[in-house]
């Protein structure tokens, strides 16, 4: 029996205040592909950085990390020895493709550098030539040209391929990937995962793939480790763990990740609530309740290539949103000195309606125009041409004065719950900010009631955003959005930054609140599973146009447009995975 490629024994990592990893032990056999899953804060990245010897100075690691059954414990090895191993025997791909490359250096040179550092190629020229070959292997178009590009000239998916080319340059025996596709679109994710699988198989390398997405593990790995609060709670073949998880935490994680499983009230299964959360309370509507709307069923239509523009989801009568022939162009700065600036089409000739009470999901890849559309619907951006009516307000050319009522009735929840809350404001002030002309006592009462409605206890009012987890911050954002009793709620990737179990909780909360407040919902997301769960209607947007729109189930089960089919096939879905990856 050959020695394992990686052998970790009793790995403990501590900060000056507490132990973060509590004695991890696992082996990875030569050529084996192992997934490591867990929520943020569970210690998965810490485990990988310990193996690479790249822990921050403030943390200390004990235990042992050995490669190929070698005697040397990498945790106690000196810097010189580690430098020989890193990038050579083992290599790592990181999560953030946007920042993981040196912005001032051509990517070809960055790939070549890892070979010149370890002298695996004879001289600079050979390393450069080999770098171009590697860029071809990760299927960058026109690799010789791509090698001369600077990182900012490449897309996120392309940068991640460059990092992969770099990591595989010296044929490492062990490849560590830390959330390599989390920042990417579904189609780019599918391509990068395919590349990782292929490159690792070609070289017979072992793989440790860290992710929070169980579906990603199922696609690439045979074995999975589940981490929870600094310990490995489950270890087994992917098929077995997915089909019959043993540890309660794994059961919860898998249940929460699977958006197709709901209970009899249509709610996602969630792990038991954390201590700080309370059961959301209902707020009695203070105004006369709106009429209960009959569910509106959209027609299922697609855009024919070269065909005439279509009015999608046309609503007879008075819709909540009516968009006709909406276009948005930008002038890109640059070009010739005095020539007109090139025009970029953000949105082209969009026409659609949203009925009051409808839940419309807008899906598309980054750059498709979905964020532009969201900004226009919220009157944060102006259409170049066409008309946009939202809740009876004509948005094109409306002044801020005219929009005062509109601003109260339309509220937004943004993606990044860290970046969209002012770090210097208390929760009480954040939630109360949209309220105007309200007395102190009433303000306090309403903030308290609103926080209760999103499941937060009143004693959070005097804390600041950094004292909350991502899910709690998103609850605060939702409370802030709902305190004006809006009629339309727009959510921009509102759950994309959250862990699966938290995501399930926030999705349940959103669904409940939308029902309770009788909101019209526009939910922008790149995650098709989330949209399928939450929305009754979906519009697929590509290259500034809606290419398909219809009832969610119909669009997902019988997609009409090739782009929709591509998008759906690129998304790994949970139910198909367990049987497929079972040994």
């Amino acid at each position: 029996m050959t020695a394992p490629a990686l052998s970790v024994t009793d790995l403990r990592v501590s900060s000056p205040f507490m132990e973060l990893l509590h004695g991890l032990s696992f082996d990875i056999a030569v050529g084996e592909r192992v997934g490591l899953i867990g929520e943020s804060g569970s210690g998965k990245s810490l485990a990988a950085t310990s193996v690479m010897g790249l822990l921050p100075d403030t943390l200390t690691a004990t235990g042992s990390v050995r490669l190929n059954g070698g005697d040397a414990n990498l945790l106690t090895a000196d810097e010189r020895r580690l430098n020989q191993v890193r990038g050579n025997t083992m290599a790592m791909v990181f999560q953030e493709p946007m920042t993981a490359l040196n912005p001032l250096m051509r990517v070809g040179a960055q790939v070549a550098e890892i070979m010149t550092v370890h002298r695996t190629q004879n001289g600079r020229r050979q390393a450069q030539d080999r770098a171009i070959e590697l860029l071809a292997q990760v299927r960058l178009p026109d690799p010789a040209q791509a090698a001369l590009a600077f990182p900012h000239q490449l897309s996120g998916g392309q940068r991640q391929r460059v990092l992969l080319a770099m990591a595989m340059a010296n044929d490492p025996q062990l490849l560590l990937c830390d959330e390599p596709t989390t920042a990417l679109d579904v189609t780019a994710q599918a391509e990068v995962l395919g590349l990782i699988g292929g490159l690792v198989a070609d070289r017979g390398s072992s793989l440790l793939l860290i992710t929070h997405d169980i579906a990603v593990v199922a696609q690439v790995c045979r074995r999975v480790l589940v981490m929870h609060r600094g310990t490995i709670v489950e270890d087994g073949p992917v098929g077995r763990v997915l089909a019959a998880p043993k540890h309660p935490y794994t059961k919860n994680l898998i249940a929460a990740a699977d958006l197709s499983v709901v209970d009899d009230r249509g709610r996602l299964r969630t792990p038991p609530a954390a201590r700080t959360l309370i059961a959301p309370s209902r707020i009695e509507a203070d105004a006369a309740p709106a009429a209960i709307l009959p569910p509106y069923r959209a027609a299922h239509q697609r855009l024919a290539p070269g065909g005439p523009p279509i009015v999608f989801n046309e609503v007879s009568g008075e819709p909540a949103i009516r968009v006709r022939e909406l276009s948005r162009q930008y002038r890109r700065p640059g070009g010739r000195l005095f020539a007109p600036k090139p025009i970029v089409h953000g949105l082209r000739d969009l026409s659609f309606d949203v009925a009051a009470g409808q839940r419309l999901g807008i899906v598309g890849e980054s750059g498709s125009g979905k964020s532009t559309l969201m900004r226009i619907l919220c009157a944060l951006d102006q259409p170049s041409s066409g008309t946009v009516d939202v809740l009876g307000q004509q948005l094109g050319g409306a002044s801020e004065r005219q929009l005062r009522e509109f601003r109260r009735e339309v509220q937004i929840v943004f993606q990044d719950p860290m970046g969209s809350l002012d770090p210097r404001m208390k929760v009480r002030d954040i939630v109360a900010e949209p309220l105007q002309h309200v007395g102190r006592a009433e303000m306090r009462a309403r903030v308290e009631a609103q926080l209760a409605a999103v499941g937060l206890d009143a004693d959070v009012m005097d804390r600041h955003p950094h004292q909350f987890s991502g899910g709690q911050r998103q609850r605060i954002s939702i409370a802030r959005a709902l305190i004006t009793r809006p009629r339309l709620l727009v959510a921009d990737e509102a759950v994309s930054a959250l862990d699966v179990s938290v995501r399930a909780q926030v999705l349940n909360l959103l669904a409940e609140l939308v029902d309770q407040y009788r909101l019209t919902l526009v939910f922008v997301s790149h995650d098709l599973g989330v949209v399928r769960h939450l929305c009754d209607t979906v519009a697929v947007i590509s290259d500034g146009r809606i290419v398909e729109c219809g009832p969610t189930g119909d669009v997902y089960d019988r997609p009409l447009h090739p782009y929709t089919r591509k998008l759906i096939s690129a998304t790994p879905s949970m139910p198909d995975l367990a049987p497929r990856s079972a040994p």
Binding site: N88, A100, P103, L104, F150, H152, M166, R332
Partner: protein, 315 residues
């Protein structure tokens, strides 16, 4: 890249034109009449009016501006109202001295700030880093003229190693020129160096936390190698932004330092001419000082374009 540089040149030229107009207008609207100043307080109104006509002051401002700037472009700054001599040659001599003084002090400041800043960043957690950091903090707090006076007291008065002031032309006596340059350049550069070293330190600290530095370490580069091959060029970008902003401060510092060391540079010339109320000369000197700052800023801008490829593409 050529396009971007061309664009920067256009911006630079426009700024110079605007700056010249502002300079002209500021001195034109100041109270006081150049003709009366030239003649003295005893002159009659009729004499002043005649003198104003002779000096062309009765023409509309736009004509006076074009006349002035047209002559300045060919190096003619007009005639001093006090000495009746052409101003141009005086300004040219003084400018040469100030350029040498300022550039030497920039170089000295950088030679001090870069290694010192990197060292304090790398040794951030050690006691030596804290001590070095404290020293630079003191440097930031000391005004340039005080540094100059202290240097004179120590090296010129007490130790008698270097002259206390004055200036020697390098063409006449190069050794003497260097001797006279050292103290004022250090006095002017030390404060800038201390300030810059703080920025170098924080830029290096920021860069060391960047993701691409972790990538570099993961490639097998040691900490020092990663810093030299990937970190420093990235750290240079924010430091240069600060340098750009400091140039104007440096020139103001030069005006004071030239006084302290009795150096006949632009600063001394400006103060002399202000005291004599020689308005045409003041106007010329101010314009030259402004253009000097703009030229240095322009050069820093160009350096940005060379260092950072993101600024090179036209978008």
């Amino acid at each position: 890249m050529v396009l971007v540089i061309l664009r920067r040149i256009v911006v630079f030229a426009t700024t110079v034109v605007v700056a010249s107009i502002v300079t002209f207008l500021l001195l034109a609207i100041l109270p006081g009449n150049a003709a009366r100043i030239a003649l003295g307080v005893q002159a009659t109104e009729a004499d002043v009016a005649a003198q104003a006509t002779a000096m062309g002051l009765d023409r509309p401002p736009i004509v006076r501006y074009l006349d002035w700037i047209g002559h300045v472009l060919v190096g003619d700054f007009g005639t001093s109202t006090v000495s009746r001599q052409p101003i141009g040659p005086d300004i040219a001599d003084a400018l040469g001295i100030t350029v040498i003084l300022v550039l030497t002090s920039v170089v000295l400041a950088l030679l001090f700030a870069i290694p010192f800043g990197i060292l304090t960043a790398v040794r951030q957690r050690g006691p030596d880093g804290a001590i070095l950091s404290g020293i630079s903090q003191i440097g930031v707090a000391v005004p340039g003229f005080l540094a100059g006076l202290l240097l004179v007291t120590l090296f010129a008065v007490t130790l008698r190693w270097l002259p206390a002031g004055g200036w020697v032309d390098p063409a006449d006596d190069f050794g003497g020129f260097i001797e006279h340059l050292i103290l004022p350049a250090i006095a002017l550069g030390s404060v800038q160096g201390a300030v810059l070293s703080r920025y170098v330190r924080s830029a290096v600290l920021d860069v060391m936390r960047d993701d691409f530095m972790r990538t570099a370490r993961a490639k097998g580069l040691g900490t020092a190698r990663a810093l030299f091959r990937h970190g420093l060029r990235n750290a240079a970008v924010p430091v240069m932004t600060v340098l750009d902003l400091q140039i104007a401060t440096l020139l103001i510092g030069a005006v004071v330092i030239e006084r302290v060391f009795s150096i006949p540079g632009l600063g001394s010339l400006l103060l002399d001419k202000v005291a004599l109320r020689d308005l045409p000369a003041v106007q010329g000197i101010v314009l030259v000082l402004v253009v000097f700052v703009l030229v240095l800023n322009f050069l820093v801008d160009l350096a940005f374009t060379v260092i950072d490829p993101r600024l090179r593409s036209a978008s």
